[in-house]
Symmetry: C2
Subunit: 225 residues, 2 copies
Amino acid sequence: MKKKLTISTEDYLKTIYELTENGESASTNALAQRLKISAPSVTGMIKKLASAKPALVEYQKHQGVTLTREGKRAALEVIRHHRLLEAWLVQTLGYSWDEVHEEAERLEHVISEDFEQRIAAAMGHPTRDPHGEPIPTEDLKMPADTSVPLSALRSGQGGIVTCVKSSETDLLRHLEELGLVPDAEITVMDYSPFDHNLTIKVGRKTTVLGLSITSKIFIEVESGA
Amino acid sequence: MKKKLTISTEDYLKTIYELTENGESASTNALAQRLKISAPSVTGMIKKLASAKPALVEYQKHQGVTLTREGKRAALEVIRHHRLLEAWLVQTLGYSWDEVHEEAERLEHVISEDFEQRIAAAMGHPTRDPHGEPIPTEDLKMPADTSVPLSALRSGQGGIVTCVKSSETDLLRHLEELGLVPDAEITVMDYSPFDHNLTIKVGRKTTVLGLSITSKIFIEVESGA
DNA sequence: CGTAAAATTTAGTTATTCCTAAATTTTTGT
DNA sequence: ACAAAAATTTAGGAATAACTAAATTTTACG
Ligand SMILES: [Mn+2]
Ligand SMILES: [Mn+2]
Ligand SMILES: [Mn+2]
Ligand SMILES: [Mn+2]
């Protein structure tokens, strides 16, 4: 019943999962951009995924795709691999959080379920990866997460950084220097409605961040102070 | 200059290396058998490897193949990955020596040079994998090895097991039970010229082994007692 | 509403890497 | 030496996954 999926297929499913987490369907173009593959190629692959048996995606022309139960399962499997691997690389091989993504991107497709279980056990079954993203459980449920983008906060609000949704080395290094890492406590000091800049206090430092950054940092809101 | 090789290509080169270690060229059929690919497919791939630039193999019809300097380099790279990974899986994740091969077989193609260096450093730059096979050095030289197959020894001869050349789970488990693992000291008690069986003493145990086993166990001969 | 722009799909190719069946070459055994 | 067997290559083809160019559909907006 469970067929071996190709690396390519796994990458599509993972990306569709990420693009549909907000409840919307994933568009051909969005997939093409994320996967760095041409739009016609994406259309072709989507058709194959939709007519696989069991179908991995639900697809109607011009309407984008969503994952079927099977597709979601496969996506969560890959995401679990990816995030466990990132945690493992950081904890046991001294990688920094800005170096792990590419390595995990390739390893995620080739490790066995045995390997997965061993690294999970060795780390004490972690629930978040080094960027703070939740790791799907062994039975492939994505843990609930109530955090919101920093960009949604306003002056006086604050909380704890749960997660930084980025794999850009430069940005991650920059944020680390600012102390904007998971578990950091932050407070919004000011909001500029014109450019959506936020002035943030992290520890004793104060920084101004643009929307392209604040939309990638997620906060568990703590109080309206 | 250095192009990325495909997984398939890497597996061919690795296998050609192994088949040509004895100085002979690797035949199409031998490759087909080892790689579990049909002979015509092997012929096709060999032609491509031979006409790549730079060429990875030397090939003349019906004469088998050998590696060029470039091909050998690439093969040693993969072999180093494989053996380091096996050692690492055993040392850090508690795999046993009969479980590591398949996992390493897939991982060897996707780890970065950075990953390679990190695990090598973490283990203190080991020189042998869990089966005792020598690990090519960082500058891709295969360490010299003067050990000989156990099958070449006769009554009274003995030495230290350096290496077991097998990836068969069952055989490896069996040998482990007998204590026939790297660094074990053994002595040949008897030789039967008809079936080539050897009677071996390992510690206080005595065992009779057939040629299909003794040809896979390598010994650093210690004395003619 | 109706058209221009944007998004998506269709059509036609290409590159890899594998396959089976058949032909050819080499090796082997008497 | 020579026929049978074994090894190898040739021929033809399939599956996967990518591409560009062109056609079509949807959307956006004046
Ligand atoms: Mn990937
Ligand atoms: Mn898994
Ligand atoms: Mn391999
Ligand atoms: Mn390497």
